[in-house]
């Protein structure tokens, strides 16, 4: 298969503007700005492109929710990539930046935004400066700035650096952070397409989602749907990490099986060990038992829940039989305890309790009662927080205790 997103692997130096242009770059933008804005949105809707940041919400539908009685409109690209196990957006931005920026421009045109922001996690300092250069090159070439390609449409794209906070990947926390506040989630509704940045209608889309857009506009929804499954069309970048021989990003059609990703592309499990569990959505995952049924499950939004997980941002962490899960959930819980923004008490206090408990159990100082208490605390966090972080912090905990009880029995 030729690459749709990681095109730099087919075309060397595609991060240079002349090479990007020679290889069809900006054709989609030129085509889009001659179309009616609704037609652009409809094409993306028909393509069935789903948000690649984790939630899988249809991008075109989100665009169509923009409130046309409230102006100006904004587009914010979510480049906060912070889910442990996810490292795809950085590769796109470093190696195929123009396709990403072109995607932002098409989205902005479709929703009538004249300003778009790229919110990058603060650690992506070098990426932000690199993108600033690429934006300038696009302005000079007439693909950004005033009156793009002789039309009446103008667009400025700005980078905005965060400063280290996982929660800012949650779209309303991101908007708070952009407004110069602490990044804490808002009460929803209203959702950003009604009231987003500066209380104006705003589309927030993930980097990979936006990078998928030029292909759809160039080739049409029908062509896009030739990849992936009926309900999860297109290709997706799977970030593969953990106990696997060849970790890295793999762009594959949605619906590829775990087995193909881990064993064919990823080269299998190192040191003669056996695969034990899969975390398909990074630290926010349930621990999926890596049996034959799971390995033969297609990785798409509908199928992964059948084996007790979620596709999320498709950050597939492989865990082999040398790992005891009491250690692993201590890691996941420590992450969420650190990253909880503190706004909702169940998440703030619950993650702290879970960290104490998992530390105690992992250090061999826990009892079976502690395991029960841990599960009880986790269950009580669920459904009581404004954003999904609270929920995420419990996924690996509860599923590990339920599906791998022997790992805990051995410790208490």
């Amino acid at each position: 298969m030729k690459y749709m997103l990681l095109r730099h692997r087919d075309v060397p130096n595609i991060n240079q503007i002349d090479i990007y242009q020679k290889n069809g770059g900006f054709d989609a933008l030129k085509k889009a700005i001659k179309m009616k804005t609704d037609d652009v949105t409809n094409e993306v809707k028909e393509a069935g492109l789903r948000g690649r940041g984790g939630a899988g919400f249809p991008a075109g539908v989100k665009w169509s929710f923009m409130d046309n009685n409230n102006w100006p409109h904004y587009v914010v690209a979510n480049a906060d990539e912070s889910e442990p196990g996810t490292f795809k957006d950085r590769e796109i931005m470093e190696s195929n930046p123009f396709q990403f920026l072109e995607g932002i421009a098409i989205c902005s045109y479709a929703v009538g935004a004249n300003a778009a922001y790229i919110y990058l996690r603060g650690e992506f300092w070098e990426v932000a400066h690199f993108l600033d250069e690429k934006i300038e090159e696009m302005e000079k070439a007439g693909f950004l700035g005033d009156k793009i390609q002789g039309t009446d449409y103008s667009l400025k794209i700005y980078t905005h650096l965060g400063a280290g906070a996982y929660i800012c990947g949650e779209e309303t926390a991101m908007l708070e952070s952009m407004e110069g506040k602490r990044g804490q989630p808002r009460v929803r509704p209203p959702f950003p397409p009604s009231q987003g940045l500066y209380n104006k209608p705003t589309v927030v889309n993930n980097v990979e989602t936006l990078t998928s857009v030029p292909y759809i506009i160039n080739n049409g929804a029908k062509e896009y749907r030739k990849f992936g499954t009926d309900k999860s069309p297109g290709t997706k970048i799977f970030s593969l990490s953990g106990n696997v021989n060849k970790p890295g990003n793999y762009e594959l059609p949605l619906g590829t099986t775990f087995r193909e990703l881990i064993f064919e592309h990823g080269g299998g499990i190192p040191n003669g060990n056996t695969i034990k569990a899969i975390m398909p959505a990074g630290a926010s995952s349930s621990m999926v038992v890596a049996n034959d049924e799971a390995l033969d499950t297609p990785m798409d939004y509908e199928s992964v829940p059948n084996v007790g997980g979620d596709l999320g941002s498709a950050s597939v962490i492989v865990v082999d039989d040398s790992i005891s899960l009491d250690w692993l959930i201590n890691k996941t819980v420590s992450f969420f305890e650190h990253e909880s923004c503190g706004k909702c008490t169940p998440c703030r206090e619950g993650a702290y309790w879970m960290k104490q408990l998992t530390s105690r159990i992992h250090n061999g100082e826990g009892t079976q009662d502690d395991v029960e208490l841990l599960k009880s605390v986790a269950t009580q966090i669920r459904g009581t927080t404004l954003c999904a972080l609270g929920e995420f912090s419990t996924m690996a905990v509860v599923s590990s205790i339920e599906r791998f009880p022997e790992d805990f029995e051995a410790k208490v």
């Binding site: 070098e126 400066h129 952070s177 890691k331």
Partner: protein
């Protein structure tokens, strides 16, 4: 000198990114600017930024406290921030950090005797396939170093020492 006197053009450029009635959005960029010289944000910086953006210093302090890349205490000139989160840990990052600390005779959070390098343990940096890895936060911004060993890290630290000496 106040921040506004030090970097007038740069501040102007940052403010131009946002609608004039929402200049508060520039706070994150200004905090990075303030941190550039000494590696942390001091009291006067907070007062300066509050003045530029019509905010209170309390609001500024709340933001400094919330985000992990802002610091309000002095540390080494280079902060080596090692990721030991899940992906990296499954590929040996905990052992790498322990070995590195032993060689440097510091614990995570501590600074080498010459005051140059602080070793910190941090959460996921989105480079899980290239562990062990860390970022260096310094007055030059933030730079990633991937697929590192203790030996290549010590070489890097030597190079940083040389740079610091020459700069003096």
């Amino acid at each position: 000198m106040s921040l506004a006197e030090k970097y007038p053009q740069e501040i102007e450029k940052v403010l131009a990114k946002y609608p004039p009635e929402h200049k508060r959005s520039a706070v994150m960029a200004l905090l990075f600017m303030a941190q550039r010289e000494e590696g942390y944000i001091n009291k006067q910086d907070k007062v300066d930024i509050a003045k530029i953006l019509d905010m209170t210093t309390t609001e500024i302090s709340a933001i400094v406290g919330f985000y992990s890349l802002y610091h309000d205490k002095k540390a080494g000139q280079y902060r080596i921030q090692v990721c030991t989160d899940i992906g990296c840990a499954l590929r040996g990052a905990d052992q790498y950090l322990a070995d590195l600390c032993e060689k440097l005779d510091v614990k995570p959070g501590e600074t080498t005797d010459d005051g140059l390098v602080t070793i910190e343990e941090v959460k996921c940096l989105a480079a899980c396939d290239k562990a062990p890895m860390f970022q260096v936060q310094s007055n030059n911004g933030i730079k990633y170093h991937e697929q590192m060993t203790v030996d290549t890290t010590l070489e890097l630290i030597e190079a940083l020492r040389k740079d610091a000496k020459e700069a003096k």
